[in-house]
Structure formats: structure tokens, C-alpha cells
């Protein structure tokens, strides 16, 4: 048994799935707790003090969230999460612009499933959607994107940082291109906000989705950034009392708003140092794996990548078998939304990986609570797992299925 493995005997699994969700930071939890207990007003009940103090807290959270992306607080629309925000952006933009005879949306083929599904729902309503292939690096081909735009194009949707492969797209270039063609630019930034600097003005972003539980805030809350100048026009998904300037009805959950605001403020304050730390851990992990298992392959661009994110293929070793061989690691093969599916990741296929290699790939996510010791443990555990499975020859029978 190797050193790090010995030190971690009888401990819970090491969490290396920070892209799926992050634990709520204890400081965020502390900020939220009073709003669960004594401060229980409905933030829309502005006729009494319980409601007014809740409203003030929600507005402070809105400002905190706006600040981290260089937006105006009035441009933040709270939603129940990034999935709803993505639905609101994509469906809302297209449905709103139908009245002007526009009907086309462009998304990368590697977008999150909820963006792809939103586009498919729009197609069922008679809209047109283009799913744009990506480079083998996972990055957008800007020329191809430009060619995909036509007179009817309303919106381009490109994920800022990828949930499975971690690549960061050239947002400013995409934004400039969209501006040039008078097309709205939506970015699903659930994985990016709080991890890399985002500036909606500098990047020319019109709509941007944010998630609470990906930035050490609570689940059940997210936001859509909606540009005011020039105004990004969208139709609401959820109608009712007219909250959130009519773009999203429903009682705002004060504790969750406070939580995402606090999470954003913490991420903003710590972003520089934390991304350096995570980058160091990621390099340590990758170097260790490459040293022990040189045939391992990194999926997605090596340079334009989230500091805490890796996607690795272990040729000939089926990923489910490897995860089973490493019970001390909480890993995934890709998006949690599709975790239970047997099919190899559609994202890795879009990168041109053959099915056998895609089926031999793992996503590794490092985060705020990851330690160097955990990284060393992961290197040792994965190395032992791959070597054992390789020796047992479980390989091709499973990984060879297409």
C-alpha cells in the first residue's frame, strides 16, 4: 500500500465530483440560517417589517451576484437554478423574437443537456436549431459559428466553461462576433462563475446562467443575467405575480438568495488565490497520473481549461469498472444528469473520441475543500485500479462494445 492510501484508511470517499455539485460553504450556511429561523418574511410583503427586511436581504444578494460578473443588480433575475435559467434564456429569447419573424438558435453540440433539450423543445414548436460541431479540443470554431448565423438567427448559446471536459470558450471573441451580426449571446456559465473572471460587458454577453450549488452556495437557486443596454428581450417561462420585473414569477426564497449572494461574494474575494491553488493541485494530479500511466489521454484543450477540472481517458479500461475498483474516490463519467446512462458521453463523441475511448473516460473535479493529500491518494488509487484491471484483462470485452 502506498503512502497516501495508508493515511486515508477507513475514511469516507474523496470527493472529486465538484462539477456535479459543491457542498455549501459553512460561511454561506451561517449567512443563510437567520433567514430560515427568525427572519421569515415573504420578500414581496413590503407592507410589514418582516417582508421589508427580507426584501433588503434579497437586494443585497442581487448586488453581490451582479458584482462578480460586472453587471448592474437590475440585470439579475433569480431562478430556481441554472437549468431553469438556461431554459428561460433559450426558450425565452426565441419565443419573444418569433413576432419579428426570427426563428433560429445556434448552440454548440457539446452544450449542457438542458440547453440541447430546450433547443429540441423549440424545434417541436417550429423553430430552427443548429447544433454546431466543435474542434477536437472542445473549443468553438469561430468561422464555423459565423457561417451558421443567418437572417433569422436570434441567439447563440455557448457554455463558458464545460461541465464535463472543463474547456473555457473564447467568450469575448464569440461576444464580438454576435454583436457584429446583431445576434444575442447567451452563455451557460454555471461552471465558470466564481472560478474564472467573468465580465459581461467586456465579453459582450447578453444573457448568462448562474448556479448557486456550483459555487458553494445552496441548491434550488440560480440566476439569469439579462442585459439592460441594449436590452436583451425574452419572454418569461413562469408567469404569475410578476416578480423579477415580470421575467420570473414566484415568491423569492430569501434564504437561498442570501446564500447565493454570500457564495458569490466569497468566490469573488478568493478567486485569485483559489484558482492558483487549484491549478497547482490539478497539475500535481495530472503529472502523477501521466508519470504512472503514460498512455492516459487528456480530453479537451490543455490550456483553456478550468483550474480544477480534468477529463481523462484510460485506454482499454472501462470507466464503470475503474470507478468500481476505486471505491475510495467519488468520481463520475460525465454530467450527473446523465450519470445513470450506459451510453458513452455525447460530449466526448463530439470531440471525435471513438466510443471505446469515450467509454474509458472519467471526469475529475477538484474544489475548495480538496487537499494535496487527497490528490496524492487519487493518483495512487487510480494507478492501482488501472494496473489491476489491465492485468485482469477486463478491458476490451467491456470497453470494446460500441
Amino acid at each position: 500500500m502506498t503512502a497516501a492510501i495508508a493515511r486515508r484508511a477507513n475514511q469516507p470517499p474523496v470527493y472529486l465530483d465538484y462539477q456535479a455539485t459543491t457542498p455549501c460553504d459553512p460561511r454561506v450556511l451561517q449567512a443563510m440560517l437567520p433567514w430560515f429561523t427568525e427572519k421569515f418574511g415573504n420578500p414581496h410583503s413590503v407592507t410589514h417589517p418582516y417582508g421589508r427586511e427580507a426584501e433588503a436581504a434579497v437586494e443585497q444578494a442581487r448586488a453581490q451576484l451582479a458584482s462578480i460578473i460586472n453587471a448592474d443588480p437590475r440585470e439579475i433575475v433569480f431562478t430556481s437554478g441554472a437549468t431553469e435559467a438556461n431554459n428561460l434564456a433559450v426558450k425565452g429569447a426565441l419565443r419573444f423574437h418569433r413576432q419579428f419573424g426570427k426563428d433560429h438558435v445556434v448552440a454548440l453540440a457539446t452544450e449542457h443537456k438542458c440547453v440541447i433539450e430546450s433547443c429540441r423543445a423549440l424545434e417541436a414548436e417550429g423553430f430552427r436549431a443548429t447544433y454546431l460541431p466543435v474542434e477536437p479540443s472542445g473549443l468553438v470554431d469561430l468561422e464555423r459559428l459565423e457561417r451558421a448565423l443567418d437572417k433569422g438567427t436570434v441567439l447563440v448559446s455557448v457554455m463558458a466553461a464545460h461541465n464535463e471536459i472543463g474547456v473555457i470558450q473564447p467568450l469575448a471573441e464569440i461576444g464580438a462576433l454576435c454583436r457584429k451580426h446583431g445576434v444575442m449571446f447567451h452563455s451557460d456559465a454555471a461552471q465558470a462563475v466564481g472560478k474564472i473572471p467573468i465580465d459581461v460587458d467586456a465579453m459582450g454577453i447578453d444573457l448568462m446562467s448562474i448556479s448557486g450549488h456550483k459555487i458553494y452556495g445552496p441548491k434550488g437557486i440560480g440566476a439569469l443575467y439579462v442585459r439592460r443596454r441594449p436590452r436583451a428581450r425574452i419572454a418569461p417561462l413562469i408567469d404569475g405575480g410578476g416578480q423579477e420585473r415580470g421575467l420570473r414569477s414566484g415568491t423569492l426564497p430569501t434564504p437561498l438568495c442570501v446564500g447565493i449572494g454570500e457564495a458569490a461574494a466569497l468566490a469573488q474575494a478568493e478567486l485569485g488565490a483559489e484558482s492558483q491553488r487549484l491549478l497547482g493541485l490539478r497539475q500535481r494530479l495530472l503529472a502523477g497520473i501521466m508519470r504512472n500511466l503514460p498512455q492516459t489521454r487528456l480530453n479537451g484543450d490543455a490550456e483553456h481549461r478550468l483550474p480544477g477540472s480534468l477529463n481523462l481517458s484510460f485506454p482499454g479500461i472501462p470507466a464503470p469498472a475503474l470507478m468500481e475498483a476505486c471505491p475510495g474516490l467519488a468520481l463520475s463519467t460525465g454530467s450527473a444528469c446523465t450519470a445513470a446512462e450506459i451510453e458513452p458521453s455525447f460530449v466526448l463523441r463530439a470531440l471525435g473520441l471513438p466510443d471505446a475511448l469515450a467509454a474509458a473516460s472519467l471526469r475529475i473535479g477538484l474544489g475548495r475543500f480538496t487537499t494535496a493529500d487527497e490528490v496524492d491518494y487519487a493518483v495512487e488509487t487510480l494507478t492501482a485500479g488501472v494496473k489491476r484491471l489491465g492485468a485482469e484483462g477486463v478491458t476490451t470485452a467491456l470497453a470494446g462494445t460500441t
Binding site: K113, I221, I238, G242
Partner: protein, 372 residues
Amino acid sequence: MTGKRATYLDWNANAPMRPEAIEAVAAALPLCGNPSSVHRFGRRARQAIEVARESVAALVNAAAEDVIFTSGGTESNNLALKGFPERRVLVSAIEHDSVLGAAPEAARIPVKPSGVVDLEALETLLDADKRPALVSVMFANNETGVIQPVAEVARIAHAHQALYHCDAVQGPGKALVDFRAIGADLMTISAHKIGGPMGTGALIARSNLALKPLVAGGGQERGRRGGTENFPGIVGFGAGAKLAAAEAGVMSRVAALRDRAQHALQAAARAAKVYGGEVPRLPNTLSISMPGVASATQVMALDLDGVMVSAGAACSAGKVTRSHVLDAMSVPRAEAECAIRITLGWSTDAADIDHLVEAWTALYARSHASAA
């Protein structure tokens, strides 16, 4: 807030969380599982959600697999009403804004002056147009508390091959709500009205219905609602549901307090009118007018005295518009503009009612002394 007594009588807008629900949420928040993940952390979250699903289903006597967790009542109502684009929609005139807003083209079913939906009018509307329909009538009105004849509505709807959706946000914890006995096809419930957390709700939907998702995503909730489940919120909803299910005894005490408030206010101002008082209504709700004093004035004056009530639904509380509910009940305009909503909850006590009566009576005396 100053040291003055604070009396919260706006429970239909938001009920404070139950300590047990707070504990459940606080314990779940620091955990890192995504319920869709297959590793140990994910499985633990999944398991907790399924336990909560059972509790929520039991609260309204539905099957666990019929529970779709959402972000709240408004989303649930939107999901139900936009979920059947091939059906025409009929809604009662006193529905919540989230029902009216989700189906702006819907035919309106009138209500009687008592506040009860007009069943004959519903029959007539369904007879007049044989296309497949969806009928939405709430369990109990959020402003007046009037309980609707929901089982009858379901029977009429089904006799016309229509689906029936029941917005039961104001129901569980205050009255017995039975999805199966009512015969509803769809039912909306909300966590923060029963002592659970804000930001969580559910749509109960018979699992054989072809419901079009509102939020497309990763296939969560059997493909009917995408998005990572708000697992701490759902766990808190489950805890709240368990407690609300055992509430009947508490509510008879609350009803007595409500009746006491009503009698005291009417004794102080003989012309004060109660809306929905002649028919079965929620035990915690009192809609009453103070003659000659505008709702907004009353709410502000009571607020200064430390009594928190509302002029109507919280969602529209920011705006000064007359209640569409009282309008639908044919309450004269001048009267409706003087109505407020007083709503109690499980922790309301006699001192709260004394405080209300004292502040309300003093305001009435002041207003009428200056008027005279």
C-alpha cells in the same frame, strides 16, 4: 424592529419554518451529493429525496411516484397549466395570479357572492365547447379562505373528459386535502406555506398524464422537470409535510382564535363586513373590511402598531390594486377597497389576537373620530 410586540398575522403569505424543518435543511446543506450522481454522496442525497417524496405524498394522500418536485407553487401552477398545450383551459375567477398568469387566454368560471365557484356555470362552459379541456379551481382561496367544492369540480370535469388541476397551496396543514378522494388529476402544493423552506414545492400529477415539461433538462423527476433537485429544500419539505399532516387538533384552536378576532372586530365596527364567512373556509383566514378606511392605510397603520397583515396576496402586495377575488364575489368597489387579510398559524396565540383587536379598534376609532 423596536422592542414593541411584533404580531405576525400574514401566514397565508409565508409560514415561519418549523424547527424540525430548519434542522433538516441545515443538516443537508453542507453535504455534497448531487442526487443524480451514482457515487456514495449522490446515492445518499437520492435516498433522502425519496423519503421526503413519501412524506409529501402522504400529506395529500397521493402516490409517491406522482410527486414532481419544483421550485414552488408558482412553478407548479405554470407546469400544470402550460403542460397540456392541446387542451383549452378553464380557471375560476378567484385563482392565484400564477394560475391566471399562466393561462391568460383561459375561460373564467364565475364565483357566487359567497366566494364559492359556480358549478352550474362550469357545466355550461364545458357543455358549450366540446374540445378537450383542463379545469383549474383552487382548493381554498388565499384571500378569503373559502374552501371550494373540489370533488364536485373534479366530477364535472371528468364527466366532460376534462382534466382537473387543483391549486392546493392554501390547504395542507389547514384542512384535510386528499388527492385521491378529490379525484384531482393534478395538484399544486408549496413547502413554505406548511412550515417548510421557501423555494420548494411540488406538482402532484397522475403519472400516466402526458405532461409537457416547463423546464427541460437532464431528465430529473422522470423527465417531467429538469434541474438538479434542491435536495436540502426537498428534505425540509418532507419534514414540514410530516408535521403538517398531524395538524388537525391545532387548527381547531386556530379556528377559535380566528372566530374570536372576527367577533371582536365586528363588535367594534358593526359595518365591518366579512368575506366568505357564510360558507366553509380555512380555519386560519379572515377577510374583513373596515368601513371608510382604505386597505393600504389599514395595513400601514397596523404595521406601525406592530401587527403584520396584508391587503391581499403578497405577490401583488407591492401594487395598490383592488382584489380580483372580492371583485369576482361582486363585493361593492368601495367596500373591497377597505378589505384586509388576517391569517393565523399554528403558533398564533390569544395575545396575538388581543394585539390585533386593540390596534384595529383604535385605528377604527381614530379614523371615525377625525371623519366626524
